[in-house]
């Protein structure tokens, strides 16, 4: 069965510091991974997906199949990055047929 693990419930950094939100997955097939973000009082939305290999709002994430990880990184955190972040695993060929989410990490960026 597929599983997504986000080991940190809470993460607090200072503005300008690097930030890394960890995500590990367990899946026997070919994984497709995503990061979703929920800012205060806003709906949950896609931040980035591994297949696109893109940088969004300064965030990047690299799929490491050897370590079964998909950590989210940003070199210089900003206060507006404070939000709940969810790592998610798609297990149906990328159609988001069934998306399994981690338990989330609440990031707080302090001034």
């Amino acid at each position: 069965a597929q599983r997504v693990t986000q080991p940190e419930k809470l993460l607090s950094v200072f503005k300008g510091a690097p930030v890394e939100l960890k995500c590990n997955y367990s899946y026997s097939g070919s994984p497709e991974l995503f990061w979703y973000v929920q800012y205060s009082r806003q709906r949950l939305q896609l931040l980035l997906r591994h297949i696109s290999r893109e940088s969004i709002k300064g965030f990047t994430a690299d799929l490491n199949k050897g370590e079964t990880s998909f950590h989210l990184k940003k070199p210089f955190a900003q206060e507006e990055d404070s939000a709940m972040y969810y790592c998610a695993l798609s297990t149906s060929g990328g159609s988001n047929y069934k998306l399994t989410f981690g338990k989330g990490t609440l990031l707080t960026v302090n001034p």
Binding site: F34, R49, S52, N96, T100, K103
Partner: protein, 113 residues
């Protein structure tokens, strides 16, 4: 821009009541989902549907049912509400195209007293 609309933002119901949560999307998406979001537990999939009148159980379907009579509408039904169903409920939709993202509604915060 895709819009997923959940009919109620806040709902308070009594134990034993039958509860309907409604969700409508305007992008002709094939897939629709219901999740519940609880602190410390993340998002857990209740039910999903990939076509009209089609439904599949997610990870926590017990105590819930769904209805998808029209492509744009996906309803979550609590047959007999219980206090442990107090939660934030999120509806989402997506197309079947590869790697298409989930589009979420604003959520319905349900309190069962």
């Amino acid at each position: 821009d895709v819009k997923v609309t959940q009919s109620s933002r806040y709902l308070v119901k009594r134990t034993g009541e039958k509860v309907f949560l409604e969700c409508v999307q305007d992008m002709d998406h094939e897939n629709m989902f219901w999740y519940r979001q609880d602190p410390g537990l993340g998002l857990r999939l209740i039910y999903f549907s990939y076509d009209v009148k089609m439904k599949e159980k997610g990870d926590i379907p017990e105590g819930y049912s769904v209805s998808r009579e029209k492509k744009e509408r996906f309803s979550l039904i609590l047959e007999s509400a219980s206090t442990n169903q107090t939660s934030m409920y999120l509806c989402a939709s997506s197309s079947v195209q590869g790697n298409s993202p989930l589009h979420f509604g604003n959520g319905t915060r349900l309190t069962v007293t």
